[in-house]
């Protein structure tokens, strides 16, 4: 079975990324957390995750860390996405379709405005 090998590309990517990091320093780290329990997955969490990653790629969003978490006990509100900007309190969104995920990435992660419409209380 052939292994994927194009590590030369990665060297170049690393250098480019480091270069960009020098230019744009600490506009504040953003953490995006996607609920990936069985309930989340069944409700479409993978597609929300996909939309989030696509937005990072298309909008060239730096300093965004995307992580996963399990079921947080709000299965009926899944897919659930949480956003933490810098040291601000965590914002939780429910019923996050790919469309909503893109909106959250644009308005909250990129522009810093909470998307009140889809916010839920935890």
């Amino acid at each position: 079975m052939p292994t994927i090998k194009s590590l030369d590309d990665l060297k170049r990517i690393r250098e480019e990324a480091l270069e960009k990091r020098k230019v744009k320093t600490a506009s504040g780290q953003v953490q995006v957390i996607v609920g990936m329990g069985t309930c989340g997955i069944a409700a479409g969490a993978r597609d929300a995750m996909k939309a989030i990653l696509e937005t990072i790629q298309n909008e060239n969003l730096e300093g965004v860390i995307v992580t996963q978490t399990g079921c947080i006990g709000l299965c009926e509100k899944e897919p659930i996405v949480q956003v933490v900007v810098g040291d601000q309190p965590k914002v939780t969104y429910g019923k996050v379709s790919p469309e909503v995920a893109r909106q959250i990435m644009q308005e909250h992660v990129k522009n810093g405005n909470v998307v009140k419409e889809y916010m839920i209380q935890v």
């Binding site: 052939p2 292994t3 969003l61």
Partner: protein, 184 residues
């Protein structure tokens, strides 16, 4: 869940919850034997006999002290409806291997679905885990071991836009080249 890849994602999440450090996902299509084999292997905390029984069939017991999900039983039922099976091999303290097989051409078999998207979500969402993804159709296939990638990137996160597009392209191209050669 309507895609096999979503089930893989679900099982891999169990591995993560079991504290695994190394997770290997294998997908093997054999068009001659007409079988579709999938497995998720981890080095998490493992399960004892009783626990294995419970995750496979959560309704046989009256005990309610432990939370058990429905992911595995649903996948097992889906496989068995397609001349297939699901097996769990596990040892406490060593890890778990979940294997599932379908008759590939069975009319009720769920589609594999978005394999590249599933691998990408697992890889980027859980960078602390060492992932190995293997996907083959007959004699063709690819293996992605994330260790050399992470070593090369060092402190650059997998969610960096450039890295993301590299990973996505690599996964999508490899999956696509396999699926266009196979008869669907």
């Amino acid at each position: 869940m309507r895609e096999i890849s979503l089930h893989l994602l679900d099982i891999a999440e169990n591995s993560i919850a079991a504290g695994a450090k190394n997770i290997t996902i294998t997908i093997r299509e054999d068009t001659t034997a007409d079988r579709l084999y999938l497995s998720v292997q981890d080095d998490g905390k493992g399960m004892d006999e009783e626990m294995i029984k419970k995750v496979t069939d959560p309704f046989v017991t009256t005990r309610t002290t432990r939370k058990v999900g429905l992911g595995i039983p649903l996948l097992k039922a889906a496989a068995e409806a397609c001349n297939g099976w699901l097996k769990i091999h596990s040892k406490v303290g060593e890890g778990t291997l979940v294997e599932v097989e379908f008759q590939r051409s069975h009319i009720d078999r769920m589609p594999l679905g978005d394999i590249a998207g599933t691998f990408l979500a697992l890889l980027v969402g859980n960078p602390q885990i060492h992932w190995v993804f293997r996907y083959s159709v007959d004699q063709d296939g690819f293996e992605l071991d994330d260790q050399p990638i992470k070593q090369e990137l060092q402190d650059i996160p997998l969610s960096d836009p450039l890295v993301l597009s590299y990973l996505r392209e690599m996964l999508e191209n490899n999956v696509r080249s396999l699926q266009t050669t196979s008869v669907y």
